[in-house]
């Protein structure tokens, strides 16, 4: 059994790690659909999006390792951290549920990632700017793909509408955390290394509500938002996800094939 690694704390390191965790966990969730999607065409689309996200995670972990300078690497971050050391938002660890739940989660995250990466392209940190330039094109496609499904599910049959509305009601409280800023990130915002997510809330809300309106879906009344993922307080779902994601490296440390 491989023991978990502990992580050191610096603002940039923790920031990059959090973004990498978002991408890895959502990418892993999408990979769970592989071979199970409603049709072959969508199976490929979900796997493609998953691979885009895992690719983003790898670049971000590699940069996090460089910033940390403690000899860790992408594999150690992914496979040897326990649940409470993950910093992803709770949204991305939500279970796949039905296809509407998966698409709604993808839609919320991609709408955020699309404006986030576009803004990050002008980061003063050249590595983050380069990762942003690559990720922005991928996220733009994820947003278009998921938006088109949300419109068709919401404005489709009674059954697809019911499922899409139910996914919206369930996942809406998890969207607030995308725009949460940690006090220790202030220096990163001031140095224009990172983008303050609070500034992205308005464009995100406009984009998302326009699509939801076309989909004939209605926003839940309650504006109460979940949080905790960014400080390592996760739902019970992440532990199960990690036990599968990490099982091989934990059981056979340093296994290669």
């Amino acid at each position: 059994m491989a023991t978990a690694i502990c992580i050191q704390n610096s603002a940039l390191f923790m920031y990059v790690l959090g973004r990498a965790d978002d991408a890895l966990i959502l990418g892993h969730r999408l990979s769970e659909w592989c071979g199970h999607a409603p049709m072959m065409e969508e199976d490929m689309a979900l796997a493609n999006m998953g691979l885009d996200l895992i690719g983003q995670a790898r670049e971000l972990y590699t940069y996090a390792a460089e910033v940390e300078g403690a000899g860790n690497d992408e594999d150690k971050f992914a496979y040897l951290r326990d649940v409470q050391h993950y910093r992803n938002v709770l949204l991305v660890e939500r279970p796949n549920g039905d296809f509407a739940q998966t698409m709604m989660r993808q839609f919320f995250y991609s709408a955020f990632a699309d404006c986030y990466w576009r803004a990050m392209m002008s980061s003063t940190d050249p590595t983050l700017a380069a990762i942003a330039a690559k990720s922005e094109k991928e996220s733009a496609y994820h947003l278009r793909h998921s938006s088109e499904w949300i419109i068709r599910l919401g404005d489709g049959t009674d059954e697809s509408h019911r499922r899409a509305q139910s996914a919206l009601n369930d996942l809406w409280p998890f969207t607030g955390e995308l725009f949460q800023a940690n006090p220790e990130d202030d220096a990163l915002f001031a140095g224009r290394i990172a983008v303050d997510p609070r500034g992205l809330l308005q464009p995100w809300t406009e984009n998302v509500t326009a699509i939801l309106r076309s989909a004939r879906l209605t926003l839940p009344q309650s504006q109460w938002m979940q949080k905790g993922g960014r400080s390592g307080q996760h739902s019970e779902h992440l532990g199960h996800l990690l036990s599968e994601l990490q099982s091989l490296q934990r059981t056979y440390p340093n296994a290669t094939w």
């Binding site: 490929m44 689309a45 088109e148």
Partner: protein
């Protein structure tokens, strides 16, 4: 698998500027926009394309295989239609 309301589309990809779109296969999709997305996801994963066309399969009018003798065999005996009876001067180079 239930495929109600899901129609068949033919996919054409242009791999480079200056080349024609080439038929690469088919897929199922509910409408034109989703067919285009699916074509991107299935047929351009390895950098194959610059442009995609999708066409409803039922828009294609196909020749009847039973007609193939009437349609194609008469051309077989007319070798003079091939431009192989000319001496191409070397200066012309690649044609």
């Amino acid at each position: 698998m239930t495929v109600q309301n899901i129609s068949l589309w033919e996919v054409f990809i242009r791999s480079r500027n200056g080349l024609a779109h080439k038929h690469v296969g088919s897929l199922h999709a509910a409408d034109a926009a989703l067919a285009l997305r699916a074509a991107r996801d299935i047929y351009t994963r390895r950098g194959e394309g610059l442009s995609i066309w999708v066409v409803p399969s039922n828009a294609i009018i196909a020749s009847d295989p039973a007609d193939k003798e009437m349609l194609f065999e008469p051309a077989m005996s007319k070798i003079y239609r091939h431009p192989t009876f000319y001496d191409v001067p070397d200066e012309v180079g690649h044609m």
